[in-house]
Symmetry: C2
Subunit: 415 residues, 2 copies
């Protein structure tokens, strides 16, 4: 007998029909002899409805400072409803079940309301309840501060709740049910021949998540990796009784390394900034990074170059597309301090990446990548690499072409 | 400076526009120098929506026993949303405010989920928060059990929350905002000349509430009376700046006693049962009451008589209309034990009552009442009296006529 945590997102519990279906999936695991804790999101659309109420009132004036604590209390009600409803659906199938709200578990967080981080989970009550065969239905996305206020983990925080809870409950596995049936070699909307991976390593999943694959939240993968907790990604939309193996995200095993590249990711949320005619002062890159950090802008890829015409240094880097205006304003303000003449920017760019732990032991991966891009005359503007990934910044017009070229070059359709 | 509790029902917080209006009413009291705690219901319609979700799942099967604990967790989310939203609206007016959920106060209850009773409120945190000028916006209708589960007080429980909280916080007054502007001498839909009372005693209000006046919950009036906490009933629908004195419910004062009758109440939720040809056994009435209590049916008026024709005893009593079938079944089952031959019932009856603490010191009140009814040929079937009220059971067809006759006989249009 093992203990598992099952997590269901908003579309999986969108209405009573879906909630009944989820109760059936839980019942199957209980029938298989497992102790089961479930983490649920709000019914889809509900969080947006609640946020709209808050935003409307918030727009009344600027008086009175932050309202994030009250935002959390209002919005957390969405998961409260779902957890109670699923517990009822389970009891009406004859199972023992009860709901657990963040403050009842308790799932402790810091006081960064609306984007809180989990500081600890210690729930002997829930542990013994699970041992007694009672399914624990937890409201995801929420916790409680040491001031006894409700805090939410921010959008998508339910994945993190589920993994953190699985770690705290010493679960054997965390199953994340979603609207796709696993992790694919790339976006099937771009490459119809994309294949579902049976397994993928934590490291690869982490790269894919931060490079634009939206199936799992980065924080939840980090947490699972640090605690060596296997995650299974599978669909909650499968027909009753249909096979639903999903993708297992776990520590790397020998076999995985034979695969050179596991997936191709892309992101269009990038913008490129180039500073021209930089003075060659020591600590210049540090100053730029400092200016961006002060403006809460995360710098991603950086490349330094020399202009042939005037022999002056240039620097190109990327930021999130929605941070572009903030970044440009901060650079303009620090122009003298950093020491550059002009800057230009472009938000018509995309980042395309290949990821695979096999890269560590295989040579020629970069060569295959750049040849495939060159054959399609795709110009690479910036390159960034890690031990297990290579990312390139290209004109966004070529995104789909580049993804297809790379998927084919690494023969991922046979993965 | 005094401390007051303000309570707003579902129609008073029906939408964001109404919530903003309520924030204005609260701001007025803060501006007047008061420490203010507010108790809110769910936005009107919201509780029904949540109950419908629960009922739908509940109907799936009979497996799994009670779901009242989960019902409470789901339904309590309605007040959670309103309390957060009002706290935000208050901050955006520049006031200090925060929400308090039942478990945060904490408002402790017993474990009778969905109809819990308050067992205690001890909130030094809220007390000091109010002293610091922070408006406390409490989710009404909900508390927490000593097993750390959410419990609701049952429909209408927000009045009781508000009064209990006012008592615990040693408030000077509890203002109940509703959709009428006070307590009237009778239902203005029946008697357009009905007058709003400036004051009414707890005892009178208690009788009126239990006799069918629906403005205040009986439990909340009892609690206020036992703790000598004045309640003011007033409307939340008044235009900004319009006078809104309402009705003050408080301990009787000399002047009140000069008023013989304060109000006329009526209820059509009655049914009459008559047991015929009863054996004259000792403890027979006790047996009937026992049979009703076992069936969870509350017996109201009782009258015993002798039939002229066969010289056998009859017994007539009233029960709530929706309990009639249950009562009849229970009586049929206990027929032998109680010892009666036949029974008949009638749910086409109404109870009309006059209430007034002046009755204690004035004679001739009953005479005036029965003369007024006799003049209109209204037949009285059962009579019940207390120190400060007289109730009669009549054919429901005559309800409005009787109410008007009594209102006029006691000159309440000049109250």
């Amino acid at each position: 007998m093992s203990r598992i945590v099952m997590k269901f997102g908003g579309t999986s519990v969108a209405n009573l029909e879906r909630i009944r279906h989820v109760a059936g999936l839980v019942a199957d695991e209980v029938a298989a002899g497992h102790e089961v804790a479930v983490v649920v999101s709000a019914m889809s659309g509900e969080t947006n409805r609640l946020v709209a109420l808050v935003d409307d009132l918030d727009a009344d004036s600027d008086q009175g400072g932050t309202i994030d604590d009250e935002y959390d209390s209002v919005v957390a009600s969405g998961e409260q409803v779902t957890s109670g409803l699923l517990a009822i659906a389970l009891r009406r199938r004859g199972l023992k079940a009860r709901s657990w709200l963040g403050w009842q578990i308790p799932l402790m967080t810091d006081e960064a309301h609306s984007k809180a981080r989990i500081t600890g989970i210690d729930s002997p009550d829930m542990d013994s309840s699970l041992k007694n065969g009672v399914v624990g239905v937890c409201a995801g996305f929420q916790g409680v501060t040491n001031k006894n206020r409700i805090a939410t983990l921010g959008r998508g925080g339910s994945d993190t709740s589920a993994v953190a809870l699985a770690v705290a409950l010493k679960a054997d596995r965390c199953d994340i049910y979603t609207d796709v049936d696993g992790i694919y070699t790339t976006d099937p909307r771009i490459v119809p021949a994309a294949k579902r991976l049976k397994t993928i390593s934590f490291e690869e999943m982490l790269e894919l998540a931060s490079l634009g694959a939206k199936v799992l939240q980065t924080r939840s993968v980090e947490l699972a990796m640090n605690n060596n907790l296997p995650i299974r990604v599978l669909t909650s939309m499968a027909k009753d009784g249909a096979p639903n193996p999903g993708t297992l995200v776990c520590n790397e095993v020998k076999k995985m390394e034979e695969r050179v590249v596991s997936g191709v990711a892309y992101s269009r949320d990038e913008a490129q900034i180039t500073l021209l005619q930089l003075e060659d002062k020591p600590g210049m890159v540090a100053k730029i990074c400092q200016a961006m950090a002060n403006a809460n802008v995360i710098v991603d890829m950086i490349v330094q170059g020399i202009s042939r015409s005037d022999n002056a240094a240039n620097l190109t880097f990327t930021v999130g597309k929605r941070d572009l205006d903030t970044a440009l304003a901060a650079l303009e303000a620090a122009k003298k301090d950093i020491g550059f003449e002009k800057m230009k920017s472009d938000d018509n760019v995309a980042k395309v990446s290949i990821v695979g732990i096999g890269m560590r032991s295989h040579t020629g991966v970069a060569q295959t990548m750049f040849e495939a891009l060159a054959e399609r005359s795709i110009n690479v503007e910036v390159i960034a690499t890690s031990e297990i990934k290579i990312s390139v910044l290209i004109d966004s017009e070529y995104t789909e072409l580049a993804v297809r070229a790379l998927h084919s070059a690494f023969e991922l359709e046979h993965a």
